[in-house]
């Protein structure tokens, strides 16, 4: 990995350099929270944001996307997507890890997704370091650091940034816009101080649990899931804000004329009551117990089995979005409690 250092006052120039050829998406203030939006000025960007209300997945998997268009007279027309080259500027490690997880799904060589590919090819990523908020637990799910999947990653080491270079394109823009220099021992010490400070800042009330996938299997039938499910409001806010929930539905939308229409892909959610409803009327997950459990299983167990990593990156968005306090943190707390109870029993 190649590292360089730039001064903080060079950052506006870097953003400006991107703006010449790219749409710049960056964190901005939005009401009481923050959102990723297209920006036209460096001054609109809030780089020390805690987290955004929703994630970056909308730039790879839009909530609603046309797959093709049809016409009763002319048949099917392949949809030509207008993809603007863009840069996601200021993505946190968890969110880049989330996109890396989506890549595993949509770039599966057996079933590559051309729509996703088109978005991905046109998208650059500039990451930024962060300090954890109360509901952050990325470090517990191997998502606190990111080693690939970005073009540049900026670590704030006080008045300057240690820039990790992840691609030739990223390096080119950095070279052209800034005056990057070699990292000194002092820079490296500052970086180490930052990582220690960050590590200590995580909310210690969120328990660190070993062997989570195994525990998911061990407690598959525990009453815990009934209790957790009973709180669910069936609203699907969790999956709307989740950076890795990628399930979708496909529907045909007829124009008012009845002559033309589109086939669309729209976000779906396994917490939606109809998600596992099949032809004939059977629902494989008819209750909130099954649906909430299924979602947690995919995040903390099922995806691991297939791809060797968690599908939850601990970004904490669902912790805030769920009005019923259902989140992976509750699952971690449950496992911790079970561990304490078992420990007590062994001691008796």
């Amino acid at each position: 990995m190649l590292y360089r250092v730039i001064d903080a006052h060079e950052l506006p120039g870097l953003v400006q350099a991107f703006m010449r050829d790219y749409e710049v998406i960056a964190p901005v203030r939005s009401g009481k929270s923050f959102a990723f939006e297209a920006v036209s000025s460096f001054d609109d960007i809030v780089l020390d944001y805690p987290t955004t209300l929703t994630s970056l997945k909308k730039y790879y998997l839009p909530p609603r996307e046309t797959l093709f268009e049809y016409d009763m007279a002319d048949g099917v027309t392949d949809y030509r997507m207008e993809v603007r080259p863009r840069v996601l500027f200021g993505a946190h490690a968890c969110d880049i890890n989330a996109i890396n997880a989506l890549n595993l799904v949509f770039e599966d060589p057996r079933y590559p997704d051309p729509y996703y590919e088109a978005h991905k090819k046109a998208t650059m990523i500039v990451g930024i370091s962060c300090m954890p908020g109360d509901s952050c637990f990325c470090h517990l799910l191997d998502a606190g650091e990111v080693r690939s999947g970005y073009d540049l990653f900026l670590a704030d080491i006080g008045g300057r940034y240690l820039v990790s270079i992840g691609s030739v394109e990223g390096a080119d823009i950095l070279e052209a816009a800034c005056d990057p220099r070699e990292a000194t021992d002092e820079d490296r010490r500052a970086f180490r101080d930052y990582t220690r400070r960050r590590q200590r800042a995580f909310n210690e009330e969120i328990p660190s649990v070993q062997e989570i996938p195994m525990l998911m299997d061990a407690f598959h039938s525990d009453d815990f899931w009934e209790e957790l499910g009973s709180r669910c409001l069936n609203c699907t806010a969790c999956s709307s804000v989740c950076p890795t929930c990628y399930c979708f539905d496909i529907r045909d939308v007829l124009d008012p004329s009845g002559e033309t229409g589109r086939r669309e892909r729209v976000w779906d959610a396994c917490t939606s009551p109809q998600f596992a409803l099949v032809t004939g009327g059977h629902n494989f997950r008819p209750g909130t117990r099954e649906r909430v459990r299924h979602r947690m299983y995919h995040k903390l167990n099922g995806f691991n089995a297939k791809h060797g990593r968690y599908l939850c990156v601990g970004c904490g968005r669902c912790v805030k979005a769920c009005k019923a306090d259902i989140s992976p943190i509750e699952v971690l707390k449950f496992f911790e409690q079970k561990g304490i109870e078992d420990g007590d029993r062994d001691a008796d």
Binding site: S33, S230, N234, C235, P256, K323
Partner: protein, 254 residues
């Protein structure tokens, strides 16, 4: 079906309502003639002078059932229609007329005092949604309906698509609009229990949901009351707000 032209015959019946949903259909403006071109519009209560004909394929019903006469009309409609579509909150949940459903026996006296006209007892009945009287195939929810939503559902009925609609509640759509939550600001919003489908457009415009889409069959009302309470809102206030469009209990709605 009109045998010659092979065009489905449609009637539009208005029961107890403000007729706003019927009017809102005309708000597809640019596409109105295209839509009318796909049907043989035999009767539209708002615009027709002649009585409803005896033969038709698809019936669109607006409004709640507040008289035995209306219930009888519905039964007649059901006998003849291949598909029945309800439009608007009044038809789906009894809506605004449904607000009179609780303590219904005393309502006439509240209005007329001791001089309740005899005809009231003869014709009026406790407000009910259409589905309480006849089987409904398709539903266009909300007060008023979205005219494009109406066209979408009408086409389902015309061309024989699955009536399947999602029953998740509104917050998921609200989050897709990237909106924060009213409860975070201590403001009550009925989106917690209201069926999705409208795109959470009121919250997107800065107004809390008032439940016109109807309480979802999969709503967790008890859970929603707990959310309200935790945000400093008396659950009784939550229940009261629900009465505007969801007075008639859900088990009756089904």
């Amino acid at each position: 079906m009109d045998e010659q032209k092979n065009i489905p015959r449609v009637v539009l019946v208005g029961l107890a309502s403000c007729f706003g949903c019927q009017i809102n259909i005309t708000n597809v403006e640019a596409h109105l003639m295209e839509v009318l071109g796909q049907v043989d519009m035999r009767y539209w209560q708002l615009t027709s002078s002649e009585p409803m004909p005896d033969a038709f394929d698809v019936a669109v019903v607006e409004g709640a059932v507040t008289t035995e006469d209306a219930a009888e009309t519905l039964r007649r409609v059901r006998e003849k229609a291949r598909a029945v579509i309800t439009i608007g909150a009044c038809a789906a949940t009894a809506g605004i007329p449904g607000m009179a459903a609780a303590a219904y026996e005393g309502r006439a006296a509240q209005v007329y005092g001791s001089a309740v006209p005899a005809i009231i007892d003869d014709i009026a009945c406790r407000p009910r949604p259409v589905s309480d009287v006849i089987a409904v195939d398709y539903e266009v929810p909300c007060c008023p309906i979205d005219p494009y939503d109406f066209v979408r559902v009408l086409q389902k009925a015309l061309y024989g698509a699955n009536p399947y609609e999602r029953t998740s509640t509104l917050c998921g759509e609200c989050k897709r609009n990237e909106r924060g939550c009213f409860y975070g600001r201590g403001i009550m919003c009925l989106g917690l229990v209201t069926r999705q489908g409208c795109g959470a457009r009121c919250p997107d415009l800065g107004r809390p949901c008032n439940g016109c889409g109807g309480v979802s069959v999969d709503a967790n009302v008890e859970g929603a009351r707990r959310v309200a309470q935790r945000s400093g809102i008396d659950p009784a206030r939550f229940d009261k707000a629900l009465e505007m469009f969801n007075q008639v209990p859900r088990e009756v709605q089904r």
